[in-house]
Amino acid sequence: MIQEILMILQDWFWTAGRDAYWPRGIEIYGAQVGFLVYISALIAIFAVLIGIYRGMRVWFHGKYDKENQGFLSFLFSLIKRALKNLFSLSLPKRLYYLIGTGITKRKSMPWISFIVHSMIMLGFLGTIIATLISTSHEYLFAEELLVGPLYIAFSFAVDLAGLLLFIGTLLAIARRYLRERDFYPRAGLEDMFLLFLLFWVSISGFFMEASRILYGLNNVPITIHHTGVILTNIDFEIFSFIGYPLALVLRAIFNPVNSQIFAVHLFFYLSHLLVAFTGAAYLAYGKFFHIGVGLANIVLNDMETPKGKLTFNSDGITKIEDFTFLQLFEASACMKCHFCHNYCPAQDTGEPLSPLKVVQDVKNWGKKQYGFIRSRKNVPILGENQEKSGLTEEVLWACVTCYACVNSCPHLIKHVNMIVGMRAALIEEGCVPGTYTTMLESVYNYGNIWNQPKRDRINWLKEGNLPKIKDSDTKLLWLPGDTLAYDPRNQRVARATYEIFQRAGLDYGTFGDAEKNDGNEMRRLGEEALFQMLAEENIKMFKKRDVKRIVCSSPHAFNTIKNEYSEFGGNFDVVHISQLILELIEDGRIKFTKKLNYDITYHDPCYLGRYNNVYEAPRKILGKLLGVRMKEMPQNRKFSYCCGGGGGGMFRETPEWVKTRISEKRVIEAKGTLDSINEVNGETVKAQKVLVTACPFCTSMLTDATKTQQLEQDIIVKDIVELVLESMGDLPFSTYSFT
């Protein structure tokens, strides 16, 4: 018996082959249909080339690497960059993006997204490769390639690819138009059209295969008798695990004659052809463009620059020619996946800003100015054309630079750089909301964002002496920052930090009232000249006092000193206050003695978490506190929500179209999380609910939000420093050593 099965298998293996089954004499796909194939292929190739040409017309009107660089030398530098990137340490990261894993950056249901996309991608690539192989089987190898085991493997793989494409497109359609309609508000007809193309490719492919096999079943059966087993010699087609059963089903239901089988085959063959070539022609237009451009963008993209370092055209972007080549290239890679759109807190609160729309607007404006032949140079994208291009002032000022969009983009598009570049143009023109004007002028005149005199900077300190950096031996500089110095709520944080440092016996120093704003917000508002002025002055001050290490209370200052001051020759060892406190705890210089009774949750500041990946230091501190029950909010770590205070948002007047502010949404989320702590424990002990954060802007914004949402009685917003001080207990100073 076993021997017989082996024989059958052997028989299958060696007689298998790709055969049309119908005799050569009645070949239906004669010269006419062949001609049609070549014509459609030519049209498709032509369409793709035109599309690429059109894209290139826009891209190469962007800025090159250097001024006055020639086209060829720039092209050469692009190739050089691509090769350099491919042979650099970032290669694994690029491969990671290549296989579509960037999609797992999606906030909700990331793995389902990844699976559906992978299905379509594998199905798409698999069917294309299969078509190429079977074509070469017929024309290059005189039908000698796909025989035996190779054919069996091939037919299995093709059906698998077709099945993946079939299920993938169905799932994608269901997600867009049924289940997750809210996620894809801008999906529109284009998605439907393209998904239908792919869907029909798989359906018609299966029917073609089935009708071919059906003809074979009807006409070529040569029965071979082994002992007790009846076989036809095309049973090996069972490895076409969709086509073969489909053929059997068709035979059972319709029992068609040869001419009917031909008709069915012809219909599906022609429609397969039409749909496949339409899809191919569409490759360089719309969504499908991401297959090529997205890939190239992943190769060309700069992955070495730290996230916190903003690179933008400081002259301001007013027209297409002011964008860089790569920015326009990135914009073409956008396939409206909606991740940034759904991730953007400004969009979530009803602002007109959608990062997706910004990128699409830039792309479309480029296409509008540079058509197939026509070119209109230097047409402003802002100003008088802002309504037409869609990039209005409200859109640009609504951005809180929380980096959620860049963080979520599977194609590494840097929306923030584009937005800030355009903001720089608005700054240059003076089209700035009044509240920003006051803030920026205050920074220029008085060196702080709060429009307060310099001499009041250390008024927060009621008792004691603030050590000066020049008297410090360790040259550890503490930068409290403007908000800690002037904002009444945050002055409590400043005092708490001061006391912790005193009790820990830390040797440190400050600039006192000579301190200046760090400039992070100025750069995010596009006021590059002011940022440079501040950065240069600060670096000069740091160097004059020979600062060894800097500790910042504000993540914003931390970000800019760490990532951006190096542009102006300032390389400093800089830490955030939470990192320093963690060090002090681990050294045993801070000891927790008092048991608190708090239910807490932690809000990740954008500039600490998403920008600089400091997620764990604050959490480790919170884990060491005594008597606190911590629970994460649904949106935490890299998916953290913003407080609405970044990128100048702190000074933005809430427009009338915003019903619930970003900070209010966050506080409501925190309330839900904190309420559920008690539910889980089932305890009757009533603990104070505390929303902890580590950024003065967040503290201020969230405190205000608890007031406007009438949650003051339920939730207290605290900086992590205040919690640390409370937990250290009320021991008198003398029990701590002073060094």
Binding site: E429, G430, C431, V432, T437, L440, E441, N445, N451, E527
Partner: protein, 266 residues
Amino acid sequence: MNILVFVKATIDRNAPLDPDEIFPGDRDDKADIMTNNYDKHAIEAALRIVEEKGEGKVTAVCLGSDMADKVVKEAIAMGCHGAIRIENSETEITNFFSVAKILAAAAKKIGEYDLLLFGMQSYDFGTATMAPMVSEFLNLPVACWVEKVLVEGNKLRVEKVIEGGTRSMELQLPAVLSIASTGDYEEPRYTSVRRIMTASKTEVPVWEIDELNVGNYEPNVKFDDIEKPPARAEKCAIFSDGDPAEMVSELVSTLKDKGLNLGAFK
């Protein structure tokens, strides 16, 4: 359309207060000087009128010492096409009558103008007299606290603030206006640091008062001295520790000692 905007240098609101140094010329530090913030609304109005018209020139005129250079250049940075500073280093003329006479003479010397704009008042003295006085010396129509300006050929339609509303007026050009800090020009445009840097390199012509043919500009009002008010001797008493009932009775008795009428608390 040629517009003259008159700007003034004042002591910065965040600069330390010193009754002996109340004029910009007395100070050494440029950081202590700022543009009179009401004048920024006037500059904004001038720039917008010119932008809407599509042609014209805005010139900023300032009477001040070299400390006022910053102010003139800020006006250029904001977008004024030119600026003139009238040197006033030694005497630091601040009397309203004298200043108005000098400014009127300067306008006469410039000659070509359609509109003279002022801020509604100054940040330091706040007399709000400059626009009417200059209009009187030049014999021109005037409207004060203007919120809205519409140029119609040779005429000017303005809306000015009056108590409880606005009043529409029509003026014949050339005219003098003082611009309110509310309404259309409420938010003066932001001047980027880059523009300030560029403007700081421009040369601003300096005129001497003697060149202006002012005539007699002796002040008609004199003031003797400015003094800081005496520091308060009394201090706040804060009751924060202890039993609330005791604290209240302590508070009441302290207030009684001060001779306060406590009404029902007697």
